[in-house]
């Protein structure tokens, strides 16, 4: 893994949507790197801007400001043919597998669409490439290749979406809640498949999901978003074991483990995320945070490193002095 130069470098990304006279800042200044060959998990509650971030990277929604550098090329500065060229190197897989495929098209044509757009292969090559891709995702091209997308179940549709996204041999795959609509047994199949393909194709993944257990299972590093900003980012194990941001701690506390012996968590986060139309001053989490002080309202905490590769945006980070499990919180 080349740690020196990231594959994707995002700096101060902002996305705003106009709402009449108001403006909603869905993504309010997000910066992170993704290194080649790694999986970065992006978690947060609905409305925190994680999907918008993913879409902005593909420029499906236009970023308002900021830079997105893929291999040193700024995507935001590109347009027309140059942008289309860059997009072949990054692909996206969407949440709802059934509605992201055209029900009235044959699956081999769906998978071949990127190839057809680029006219990159000849007729016979096209068939071989498509067959190979379908085999890779576990669908028999001889039996199913000519069937229509509507004839497949959710899990199979997600396999077909994966095959389509791999057709142009992308470097970066953005997976937006790709397993949240699937049953656990199918979810496990798709997650294993993704891991296999990641190794085989040398993919780099941005894995967006709300399910903390799923994210932990696939990610090398995890970023936690709250109301349009990243509040914590770090290696998966560290972040889950010794969360430094109070929000991460509560999010993990609310995640339910399928184990009757797991403690029933007493501290449940009260209230709901505030509206992004009118975010709180200072720290965006302060309205729900039990540790908030006047400083949190006055001054916005910036992401700062508490351990190598582990950054947190909080004035009073948890677990920092003694990086051990259940370390007592040190108040300053």
């Amino acid at each position: 893994m080349n740690r020196a130069e990231p594959l994707l470098k995002i700096r101060d990304l902002k996305v705003s949507f106009g709402m009449g006279h108001h403006e909603v800042q869905a993504v309010a200044g997000v910066s992170f790197d993704i290194f080649e060959g790694e999986t970065l998990g992006l978690v947060g509650e609905s409305g925190c801007g994680k999907s918008t971030t993913g879409k902005a990277l593909m420029r499906i929604v236009e970023p308002t400001s900021g830079t997105i550098e893929l291999d040193g090329v700024d995507l935001c500065a590109q347009k027309g043919k140059a942008l289309r060229n860059i997009r072949t190197r990054m692909q996206m897989i969407f949440q709802d597998p059934i509605s992201s495929l055209n029900p009235r098209r044959r699956i081999k044509d769906i998978v071949a669409e990127p190839l057809d757009c680029w006219k990159s292969v000849t007729g016979t090559e096209r068939d071989t490439v498509v067959s190979d891709l379908l085999v890779k995702v576990g669908i028999d091209p001889q039996v199913y290749g000519n069937r229509y997308a509507r004839q497949f179940s959710g899990g199979q549709c997600q396999r077909i979406s994966i095959a389509r996204s791999l057709a142009m041999r992308p470097k970066l795959l953005i997976c937006d809640e790709m397993v949240s609509a699937l049953d656990v047994s199918v979810q496990a199949q798709i997650l294993n498949l993704l891991e296999d393909l990641k190794k085989e194709y040398g993919l780099t993944l941005l894995f967006i999901a709300h399910d903390l257990a799923v994210v932990k299972n696939v990610s090398d590093r995890v970023a936690v978003m709250y109301l349009g900003k990243i509040c914590e980012i770090g290696p998966s194990n560290t972040l889950y074991e010794v969360p430094a941001h109070p929000y991460t701690k509560f999010l993990l506390g609310a995640a339910l483990e399928a184990d009757p012996d797991s403690p029933v968590h007493g501290d449940v986060l009260t209230g709901e995320p505030p509206s992004p139309m009118n975010p709180p001053s200072g720290c965006r989490f302060r309205t729900r945070c039990p540790f908030a002080t006047q400083k949190c309202a006055d001054e916005e905490p910036l992401l700062s490193e508490v351990a190598p590769g582990h950054s947190v945006a909080c004035h009073y980070p948890l677990n920092v002095k003694t990086p051990q499990k259940r370390a007592p919180r040190t108040t300053t």
Binding site: T39, E45, S46, S153, G155, D183, V184, S185, V186, Q187, A188, Q189, L191, N192, E195, H210, D211, L212, A213, V214, K216, N217, V218, S219, D220, S236, N237, Y240, F250, L251, L252, G253, A254, A255, L256, E257, A258, D259, P260, D261, S262, V264, H265, V268, L269, T270, E272
Partner: protein
């Protein structure tokens, strides 16, 4: 039946069959279980396993011309199967109430939420307008909605998903039911809101002495909040027992597969998940044998030919339907840490 009968609900050999163009579809078959007063039972299974049809049948909602329901659902001495619409209306609300999965679609979008709560109070209990409003505000407060008097006049569209689910719960509780059927009450909600709603249901169950049937596909939801669990597969109960027993000493291979295939927060990154090969069966083409046999690594000829009935395990109340059950003395499921 007296108030002191410990059994609130007795379901016996319940079967719900849909008559479809492709033939009869047995969505629920041969389901029997009992539920005590003030007990929470969890029903888990993948989509299409018949969880929702089961709860709808218990509620008595499954009665259109293309549905055949056989067996018996005895709720506090009242038979629900074959009861007339009038009889069932008398039971809905005061005996049994239901929370549906989607809080967005189970409320009327053009009716103020307060009106939707006091509707049942006025029709069912015959309260006056003012009394019903007062009670509705009380209920909104009970389910933890801030400034309830103000929210009484809100439309569902003005509330968030979590708040709407609280309103749905308030409607269900309006006539103090003895049994609450919660069909995926937290699916589609964020984790922090999910925890709030589950805590609320737990708390209300204790305060109002209700029994709850908690239907979910998420094993995490039932792990710490139920006393017993029913595992369903292809419309049938394949394992039933105390929550601890089902999680740690399950005998049915499907239960194990379900537990092992869920990702865990304690797993390391890139942990390989155990998968169940294949997909759930087509209910129109069920075979004579065990429905899980085609996906089961322990299946023998007998499994394909003869359907296993529920047989008791060592612990009282624990039963499973399998010809080749997993060994008795096993440690907890392998946990990769």
């Amino acid at each position: 039946m007296s108030e002191f009968d410990p059994i609130l609900l007795a379901v016996n050999d319940l079967a719900t069959t849909f008559q479809t163009a492709g033939g009869p579809l047995p969505a629920v078959g041969g389901v029997s279980f009992e539920l005590k007063r003030n007990e929470t039972i969890g029903v888990v299974g993948e989509s299409g396993s018949g969880k929702t049809v089961l709860t709808r049948t218990i509620m008595g909602l499954q009665q259109r011309t293309n549905v055949t329901v056989t067996g018996s659902v005895l709720l506090d001495g009242h038979e629900m199967v074959g009861a007339s619409e009038m009889d069932k209306r008398a039971l809905w609300g005061s005996e049994v109430a239901m929370i549906f999965q989607d809080p967005m679609t189970s409320l009327n979008p053009v009716m103020r939420v307060g009106k939707q709560i006091d509707e049942s109070l006025r029709v069912r209990v015959g309260m006056s307008k003012a009394d019903a409003k007062a009670r509705a505000i009380e209920l909104l407060e009970l389910v933890g909605i801030p400034s309830p008097a103000h929210r009484y006049d809100a439309y569902p569209g003005q509330l968030s998903g979590g708040m709407r689910q609280r309103v749905v719960i308030a409607i269900a509780l309006a006539c103090s039911p003895k049994l609450l059927l919660a069909d995926e009450p937290t699916t589609g909600l964020d984790v922090t809101i999910q925890a709030q709603i589950l805590n609320l249901l737990d708390d209300l169950k204790e305060r109002l002495h209700m029994s709850v049937i908690l239907v979910t596909h998420d094993l995490g939801v039932v792990a710490t909040r139920t006393s017993r669990i029913i595992v369903m597969y292809a419309g049938r109960i394949v394992e039933i027992g105390s929550t601890r027993e089902v999680f740690s000493a399950h005998r049915m291979p499907y239960t194990r597969a379900l537990l092992e295939s869920s990702p865990k927060v304690s797993n390391d990154p890139h942990t390989r998940l155990v998968t169940i090969p294949g997909r759930p069966p087509n209910l129109l083409k069920l075979t004579q044998g065990c429905s899980f046999a085609p996906r089961c690594s322990y299946a023998t000829d007998r499994c394909h030919q003869e359907r296993p009935e529920l047989q008791p395990a060592d612990e009282p109340g624990h039963a499973f339907a399998c010809w080749n059950p997993l060994p008795k003395t096993r440690k907890r499921t392998v946990k990769t840490t």
